[in-house]
Symmetry: C2
Subunit: 196 residues, 2 copies
């Protein structure tokens, strides 16, 4: 198993390079149409290298998805750290998520694909629930302070996720670029939706 390998710095770099290249290829070309040979050729290494770092092609995609979740949550955490007021933290988190989506359209396309096969969909369901729970906790704090109306925090968080998701689709699948005004509209929709 490639899991418990003790990697050197050089090893970690190779691994990251494979991860990064695979992400863009999968996003541009599709997961199945992109072969493991395509990936190792693109990075300029032998095929064995791939299986030194990863157990299988499937495991690679699962790892890409899990890494992306970690990256998103890290970004969110950093963005809300400055503020102390729950409502401000909520807005900062929303804006950070939108920025992250704009910068990671590759991932968004991979996520869309992932929902089409059960093994990946499992990973995505879990990830989605985690992100929603994060948001729901912020909402609860705001409710405790009377800043927003009472209601199911998970449902509210789901709605916020839906708005951000749709903006992400616009970034990833839209024809041209996205009107910045749209971001403001989305943020407003999220925050207004919480008040009533």
């Amino acid at each position: 198993m490639a899991e418990k390998r003790q990697l050197t710095r050089r090893g970690r770099q190779r691994r990251d390079k494979l991860l990064a290249y695979a992400t863009t290829r999968f996003a541009e070309n599709g997961y199945h149409p992109t072969s493991v040979s395509d990936i190792v050729d693109g990075v300029g290494v032998g095929k064995g290298v791939f299986y030194w770092y990863f157990d299988s092609k499937d495991q690679l995609l699962e790892e890409i998805l899990r890494d992306a979740l970690r990256d998103l949550r890290t970004t969110q955490a950093a963005a809300i750290a400055d503020a102390t007021d729950p409502l401000q933290r909520l807005e900062a988190g929303i804006r950070a998520s939108i920025r992250w989506s704009a910068a990671n359209t590759d991932i968004i396309r991979l996520v869309n694909f992932g929902w089409s096969e059960e093994s990946f969909a499992d990973v995505l369901r879990r990830g989605r629930d985690i992100v929603v729970t994060d948001t729901a906790h912020l909402i609860e704090q705001a409710v405790d302070l009377g800043q927003i109306m009472e209601g199911d925090p998970v449902m509210m968080a789901s709605a916020i996720r839906a708005v951000i998701d749709q903006l992400g689709q616009e970034y990833a699948l839209g024809n041209g670029d996205v009107d910045p005004e749209m971001v403001e509209t989305a943020v407003r929709m999220c925050l207004r939706g919480l008040r009533g």
Copy 2:
């Protein structure tokens, strides 16, 4: 080429059966993991039958997607035929689209997959633009009557599409079933968004 074939009634039934079975299999199991052999075995016919009715596996999926668009538009057209008031027609169309989404979660999953490969994404982009244009025309009529605020009709139509799409995702990808109240919220969001 299977395109110009003169089909008997029996032929059309077979074709429809293949189309229907492939749709559910693709949705459940994924497009690539489902082989042509899986499909013909499932329907209980020889492999040659498949290539009598379709040029290729890819063409089959493209046809499924195009048929789905046609079906959606037919449903919408039927739903708005009753009303004459543009705003009422708009609402009827939205509700019909939502109902259609709830009844066609298989298609929604296939659409998600389709965006991940360029050849299918082309078909989807075109379909999306058509649906948005349909809606934009309705909006224009409502604007002319002063029923809703001025603004880019295409942008407004895109927003409506986004709301409906997100509800569709909920139907197709959600864990449990969808709170009917969510439908009302979605409809309200669409119509309110048009007023200001």
